[in-house]
């Protein structure tokens, strides 16, 4: 396109874009420098600057005494299990809904898509009762089950949109060769679905990894507590020692950041898919 504005206008635009750039990158810098400081620097001495002494021991304090290693393990277990279950169920359902022929396909799809409009807040109290009856409160399953249930609609939306683009001939050939329905679905269609599965996984990962409300209501023991709630609790307990809390925040952000650094365009794509749900 033609660039026909005045140089001063262009400079102003650059300046504006750079200011906002700093506003967006500042949290990461702040987080990192804060995690290596001690209280005297955090409280007034040196709020913005790099730490005068890099106190790496904040990390070992958070890891051990702050129980971050435990919370991290819990977050990993919960997120991994939710991802596996959600993807498995959503893939199978999408295959059944789009490739198989039966009455009520459309209706079932609409029914599942209802879930996109329902905020999980609305189910808290009844879910608490149901999970209690199932005796899974304060176990990993107590989070995995509701997380999976609430993420299924989104995952189906992403996956089914993709299944549609795979030509039916793929399966025709497979079935003519005598391949059964399970083998066809899991060894022929599933491998072709990787991009959609990645998109869905990223979306589910961010939802589950950052979730706070259910994680605080359905869990009451440290053995199951996830990072978000665990760290939030540290703010009450370790009022006097902020450095390790900063370290805890960094540790909890690393998986998200690594994911983003490695595949920023996929992460962006999956969150766009999450918004354009209509």
């Amino acid at each position: 396109m033609k660039k026909n504005h005045l140089p001063i206008g262009r400079a102003l635009i650059q300046f504006f874009l750079i200011v906002w750039l700093f506003a967006c990158i500042f949290p990461l810098y702040w987080l990192f420098s804060f995690s290596l400081k001690d209280n005297s620097e955090i409280f007034g001495g040196n709020v913005v600057g790099l730490p005068s002494q890099w106190i790496w021991s904040n990390y070992s304090t958070a890891w051990g005494a702050g129980k971050i290693s435990l919370y991290l393990r819990n977050s990993v277990i919960t997120t991994a299990a939710t991802l596996f279950l959600t993807l498995l169920l959503s893939f199978m359902a999408s295959y059944g809904l789009l490739r198989m022929r039966w009455k009520g396909q459309k209706l079932t799809m609409t029914y599942l898509m209802l879930g996109l409009m329902i905020p999980m807040h609305a189910a808290l109290k009844p879910l608490l009762g149901i999970l209690m009856d199932l005796k899974v409160l304060s176990t990993h399953l107590g989070l995995i089950i509701p997380y999976t249930a609430f993420n299924i609609p989104m995952a189906i939306l992403i996956i089914s949109g993709f299944i549609d683009s795979i030509p039916m001939e793929m399966e025709e050939a497979a079935y003519i060769d005598g391949s059964g329905v399970y083998r066809t679905a899991f060894t022929i269609i599933l491998p072709m679905m990787v991009p959609a599965l990645v998109t869905a996984s990223i979306f589910v990962f961010l939802q589950v990894w950052n979730e706070m409300l259910m994680a605080s209501v359905f869990v009451s023991t440290d053995n199951v507590r996830t990072l978000t709630v665990g760290i939030q609790q540290m703010f009450g307990q370790y009022q006097t020692d902020w450095g390790p809390i900063g370290a805890a925040l960094v540790i909890s952000t690393i998986p998200t950041l690594v994911l983003y650094l490695c595949m920023s365009s996929q992460v962006q794509r999956s969150l766009i898919a999450g918004a354009v749900k209509g």
């Binding site: 609305a122 329905v181 990072l227």
Partner: protein
Amino acid sequence: MRKVLSNKWHIMVFVLPTVLFFTFFVIIPIAMSAFYSTLNWTTKTKPTLEYFVGFKNYIDMFTAKGSSFPDAVRHSLLYAGASVFLQLPFSLLLALLLARGVKAESFYRNIYFIPVILSSVVVGQLWRKIYNNDYGLLNLFLRAIGAETPKGGWLANKGTRLWATFVPVLWQYVGYHMLLMYGALKSISPDILEAATVDGATGPIMAFRIQIPLIRPMLKVCLSFSLIGSFKLYDMVKILTDGNIGTEVPATTMYREMFKSHNFGTGSAMAMFIVAECLLFTVLLNIIFKDRDRERSR
């Protein structure tokens, strides 16, 4: 193949587990919430029809003395307004600037998106530090230029607490809206822009006459995300102020009613109100944007 793919047993194996799971853990709980919302259920009563009170909870939550729900709803509407009239235009401006082609376009885009993926704990704690009365960045800056700082701190002062709570959320999701709009802007055919340029359209005219009308469908997505998000707002408010008086939003008030006051009936009514609000706004947006969408062939 027809036989394989219309085999009832196969269909059941593939679809039924998901449908059951979803029904049992999403639909049934919502239905139960709807039922609970009509009961006088506290720690002293049980969730049975014996305590049926009809719509009393819905009326009470708005009219009962000391109920903070009307304020909470008002706050969420204010937030929705701020999101629509400040956050979205700002995101649109960023998207337009990036989409017209600047140096290191994708670098900017990637960085602008970072706040979106951070957890609310991180973002919330960062802003608590920024707002801190004694050593917060904001007050350090204000003192440096000799300006006054709000009494009691940004998050407690009557005049500033509500907006101080909203700013971090607005800030966090600018990158999200920017990305959605940027994507839509980039998918406009270059021919159209070329033709407009030949006709003499530049900067603002191009934006208002050509680009913005063409990304209307995406603006609808952004609007609905903003509005629905405003009723679901919870994490950040919880972290910043714990939804204390003057900063409460529907979800924090519901949480309090349910898990602090143990008024399960009224709490459920609030929960249902949030669901209804989300549905209502989705429907409204669909009506408003309907004519245009029909023209757009899919």
